[in-house]
Symmetry: C2
Subunit: 296 residues, 2 copies
């Protein structure tokens, strides 16, 4: 690299570096590592602004992707790099679920909202899913600690899109000591009462409705009450999944009212569920997390 | 759509609209149409800022993609939409070559720098390529006229990446009455003297070296002399294709000196040939074309 910055992994690093690309005033990196939570190899992308490459601690935002996605979609299409470069933010994008490989056979399902590429960022409680589908533990314990030990991270906020928006709201309110800020783009707000989530939770939890409730973002917010100065949610007004009842944004609004959790909820005219929507508003989310990291 | 803008195709339109997505203050559209130049269906993407959707004439930039790409790569990964929305620019991304379909069998080659996904934006002179590989005529005549008749376009500039950077320089200097501005990202500057171009031109032109020279960007610039107030070229300094001799940026520099064509050539430290490089500098190129459209 033709610049004075670099990032060195710790001597005992469990990470394998897959790629490095210069992008704005920083670098887009990919890593893989062996996860104890999922018992598979896991891949994530991380954007490191030059401040971080020079070893200065930076605020970070963890982006949880939606159904069918992996780290590539947001890294290629959301265009968070420019704003993160300007502000000095680290941006981390994990995969959405464990994946089968030559050495590991992970359960799957022909329904895209249940198997590999789904996970709802929960720990599944019943076979065959409980062996590998432990994405809550992966995100909030294993990856969280790994990121803090390997990169110069000051604080971590959490955001996400669709199923990943559910994940951001759910994990942000279940583990408020871990995250300094929460936002979401077109989140699945009430997974336990949506067709996608009902199918997945039936597989992951069986009929134990107490576990369903603990894996529902709106119910969790209502139960634990206010945790953040404010949270930011953008929702496309022309989103077909909103019309289909998968997202149930009104239940998030109700839960935040009951929890006295300040919520900035913006319905964006004409916008759909796509990465064109995400790229239009991602900068506002990065700025939200940056402000929260600075000023709480 | 939940906004007051729309775009209507002419009553006799040859275009089929494939998709519409709201993105920033505008819409990303895809169209297909039957081409007489290539005798195939051709697809292109076009970003229309709200000014254009409301029918106001806007400056446009035509982006020619590199080897192996189609309209998707730049439309998904380059993130031109935000700057085009801010400035009121139209951005058009055609495919790189004709493609086989159920109804048409287009020649191909196992070498990615010769067959479908290549074309060098020239009209091939010999069989089997001359039947369909007529991308110069497609771009500067057919698509050019179609865009002007179907969209509220004020003026057109041309840019591109790699093989598409070659295309932008070549067509910009062969047809300066058609374009108000030229720029390029990591262009193939001397296709007739690069390994990629030699392989392709052998197929398209045989051993008629006069045709090779007419399809070489640096030779064309040197021959026709100064045509634009200035042209802008960005080149990653860590680009492996530069090191491999495929790009030959020095020959562009020499040609512009001999042609007295003002050239802003920027070697960008640490940057490679990827879309991470493109997204870092695309805004500067859009602003270059916007200024040229306003002020020549």
């Amino acid at each position: 690299m033709n610049n004075s910055y670099h990032h060195s992994l710790s001597a005992s690093s469990q990470l394998t570096q897959l790629s490095v690309n210069r992008c704005f005033d920083g670098e887009q990196h990919y890593y893989s590592h062996q996860s104890t939570a999922t018992k598979t190899a896991m891949t994530f992308s991380i954007y490191l602004p030059d401040e971080a490459l020079a070893g200065r601690r930076c605020p970070a935002v963890l982006y949880l992707s939606g159904l069918t996605c992996n780290a590539d979609n947001v890294t290629h299409k959301a265009h968070f790099q420019q704003k993160c470069s300007e502000l000095g933010m680290i941006f981390i994008a994990p995969d959405t679920s464990p994946r089968s490989s030559e050495s590991v056979d992970v359960p799957n399902d022909e329904r895209y909202f249940v198997g590999q590429g789904a996970s709802y960022y929960v720990d599944a409680a019943q076979a065959p899913w409980s062996e590998h589908f432990n994405m809550q533990s992966y995100i909030v314990d294993e990856l969280y600690d790994l990121l803090r030990s390997e990169f110069p991270i000051d604080s971590i906020g959490v955001t996400g899109h669709s199923m990943g928006g559910h994940g951001a709201l759910l994990l942000g309110f279940k583990f408020p000591s871990k995250f300094v800020s929460v936002s979401a783009l077109s989140p699945v707000c009430a997974a336990s009462e949506s067709a996608w989530g009902e199918a997945a939770f039936t597989e992951y939890f069986g009929d134990d409705k107490a576990q369903w409730a603990q894996a529902d973002a709106a119910k969790t917010i209502e139960k634990v009450g206010q945790q953040y100065t404010s949270i930011l949610v953008d929702q496309g007004a022309a989103d077909n999944f909103l019309a289909d009842g998968q997202l149930q944004t009104n239940k998030l609004l109700d839960a935040c009212e009951k929890a006295k959790q300040p919520l900035t909820l913006r319905y964006q005219a004409g916008h759909d569920h796509s990465y064109y929507f995400i790229q239009t508003f991602i900068n506002d989310h990065i700025e939200h997390h940056w402000r929260m990291a600075q000023f709480g």
